[in-house]
């Protein structure tokens, strides 16, 4: 979203893009997923195993968050929120 208000054609509806809350959620949870998977693979210690009852919790929780994050970004990408140039009329084509 680098275009400035002036350069944007005023009559064309466009995707909400990064400002779609689903992308923000997907990116944040997905990022947590990546960090946790790395932690699970690289820093799985006996002490952690004792805490979790011998489950690699970081790895599994990380994978789940990663899948969740990807699904949210995909959903936002496949069914985008369209922002109408006329700001009083939000798009009717909302996903649901």
């Amino acid at each position: 979203m680098s275009d400035s208000p002036e350069s944007r054609p005023s009559a064309v509806p466009r995707r909400a893009g990064v400002s779609d809350v689903r992308n923000v959620i997907g990116a944040l949870i997905g990022f947590y997923g990546v960090v946790l998977v790395v932690m699970g693979v690289a820093a799985d210690s006996a002490e952690d195993r004792a805490k979790t009852g011998d489950v690699n919790a970081n790895l599994w929780a990380g994978l789940a968050m990663l899948v969740f994050g990807v699904l949210f970004v995909l959903w936002a990408w496949l069914r985008p929120v369209i922002v109408e140039p006329d700001e009083t009329e939000p798009a009717e084509d909302s996903p649901m």
């Binding site: 809350v21 923000v24 944040l28 946790l36 210690s45 919790a57 649901m96």
Partner: protein, 557 residues
């Protein structure tokens, strides 16, 4: 001596917390600058489906108090805590969506103080605004105390230093525009909290040997017992020896007065629904929110119960020991310390800090709105330019934060915060709900009755509480709060009716849009409603939700 609450957070945990706050700050800054993209931001927000506003609706409430308070309750009382959801919140949310929302939306009354002013005039408005401001400062104190306990567990600083630090963090969070993007942050926060609590619950269950292991352990634990696995009759929670009185207290006190009062008159909640673009969407907001709401206890109350048998300190507390200086409020933090490895720990801390901060920020900004516009502008200095009131609002924010440090010490004196919170709701929400409902459905109710009812309702609740504290009778659980709320409701209604009989009512012509019978039907209905598919029809969704919540009540009875 090593502080038992000390959580061993590592560098990576701090990174995960920092990333969350960076995202929140970016959202806040974008909202504040209102650049082209941020304008889209809110437009996109408005056209988002109702399930997102539904999530924001419950997320606004899924704060510190709920997570800490409900898990503390779970650790102490077990399954009866479920009543807060299945007898309390969910039916109240459905009532709000089905009965109240058409009226709110149609009559264009945007807040409870506004309704009070138009329906009853200045007397009720002043009482309502003052008690609301006081309640917000007291509740902000709870949130601040909880925030400080997390800082305390992380860094091991003394409580008062942690309090001041937490207050400073919240102040900067509000100043940086974190609230402008409130709904966005709330939805984001919901997912982070679930991402923290779900693994916590699953790993905790795994540690105690699954569901059967938990049942075994709670049944046999000292201070536990089989009654903690059944939600009814909940004698321990209500503090009544008699099962009949206990059920009555839970259904009428907790279910009807406290929960209906909270969910239908809390304008922070109602405004979430008012932000939608049609009446059907507004009605759907609390109804859709009720679906996740009924499953939240599984990741909040259950971890509390797990902590009660797994965490050494909490188990000793349950057995009647001293818990090494911990209280039930620490249950979930202690469980996080015991079962989450570094990494997941960071996610959990991010979720908790986010929830506590957002909760306190909401209290403080609600206080500042009511203080500067409903109190200062109306009763102290009228007719000043706008920026004068903005300045007043800014000082009110600082003042509220400083006051909250004081009220946080009151909160720190309660070993189970839910008891304290329900007591406050009994003082403030229960009489408000009575006056509100009566004023809405009974056109004969007069202006004098409005404020006299509120004052006497609150006085009744305070009296019941005082008698219990003074030892005239003794209800150990949350029963005192339920009884106080019930008393406030009944006294408010009786006094309002008596006073109304003795004073002159408002002319009927002034009541359009304020009293149900005087509001034209077109104002209360959505012309497009009949064209919606079943999954968008509020009433049908509410029916499904009701069936589910009854089923949950039966399954876990």
């Amino acid at each position: 001596m090593e502080d038992p609450l000390r959580i061993g957070a590592s560098f990576i945990d701090y990174v995960l917390v920092a990333v969350y706050f960076a995202v929140v700050l970016l959202i806040g800054l974008a909202a504040r600058r209102r650049i082209s993209d941020s304008l889209d931001f809110f437009l996109a927000g408005r056209s988002l489906p109702a399930w997102i506003t539904g999530l924001a609706f419950i997320s606004a409430n899924l704060g510190a108090v709920e997570i800490i308070g409900m898990s503390a309750n779970g650790a102490q009382y077990g399954m009866p805590t479920m009543h807060y959801y299945w007898i309390g919140a969910v039916p109240a949310m459905l009532f709000l969506g089905v009965v109240m929302m058409p009226f709110y939306y149609g009559s264009k009354v945007r807040s409870v103080p506004e309704f009070m002013l138009r329906r009853f005039g200045t007397g009720a408005h002043l009482v309502n605004a003052l008690s609301f401001a006081l309640a917000q400062v007291l509740i902000a104190g709870i949130n601040l105390f909880l925030l400080a306990s997390v800082v305390n567990s992380l860094l091991g600083w003394p409580l008062w230093v942690a309090l001041v630090l937490a207050a400073a963090i919240v102040l900067s969070y509000i100043t940086l525009g974190g609230l402008s993007a409130a709904i966005y942050n709330e939805v984001l926060q919901f997912f982070v909290i679930v991402a923290a609590l779900l693994p916590l619950t699953l790993i905790g269950l795994h540690r105690v040997g699954g569901v059967n292991g938990l049942i075994d352990k709670v049944t046999n634990a000292p201070g536990g017992g089989a009654e903690q696995l059944n939600s009814w009759p909940g004698n321990e929670l209500a503090g009544f020896g008699s099962s009949f009185l206990s059920v009555l207290g839970i259904v009428f006190g907790l279910g009807f007065v406290l929960s209906f009062g909270y969910w239908t008159t809390n304008f922070v909640e109602v405004q979430r629904a008012m932000a939608t673009n049609s009446m059907s969407a507004a009605r759907s907001t609390p109804i859709i929110g009720s679906f996740p709401k009924m499953f939240i206890p599984f990741v909040v109350v259950i971890p509390g119960m797990i902590a009660g048998v797994l965490v050494a300190e909490t188990a000793s507390l349950k057995a009647g020991g001293d818990g090494s200086g911990t209280t039930y409020n620490d249950a979930i933090l202690l469980l996080i310390r015991d079962v989450l490895p570094n990494g997941l720990l960071g996610v959990a801390l991010a979720g908790l800090l986010a929830a506590f901060m957002a909760g306190m920020a909401a209290n403080v900004s609600a206080f500042n709105t009511v203080f500067s516009f409903d109190l200062w502008q109306r009763y102290v200095k009228k007719d000043r330019p706008d920026d004068y009131y903005l300045k007043v609002g800014r000082w009110a924010t600082v003042g509220a934060t400083v006051l909250a440090i004081g009220t946080a010490f009151i909160a720190s004196g309660y070993s189970n915060l839910m008891t304290y919170l329900q007591t406050l709701f009994g003082f403030f929400n229960a009489p408000l709900f009575a006056t509100f409902i009566l004023g809405m459905f009974w056109k004969r109710m007069t202006a004098t009755a409005g404020w006299v009812g509120l004052v006497s309702g609150t006085a009744a609740a305070v009296t019941v509480w005082g008698l219990n504290e003074g030892g005239v009778y003794n209800l150990p659980g949350q029963g005192a709060a339920f009884v106080a709320a019930g008393a406030a409701f009944v006294v408010d209604v009786v006094v309002s009716v008596l006073v109304s009989k003795a004073t002159a009512p408002k002319p009927v012509a002034e009541l359009a849009g304020l009293v149900y019978s005087e509001t034209p039907k077109e104002q209360r209905t959505d012309p497009a409603a009949s064209r919606l598919p079943w999954f968008r029809s509020p009433v049908k969704l509410a029916g499904i939700s009701l069936v589910l919540v009854v089923a949950l009540n039966v399954v876990f009875r």
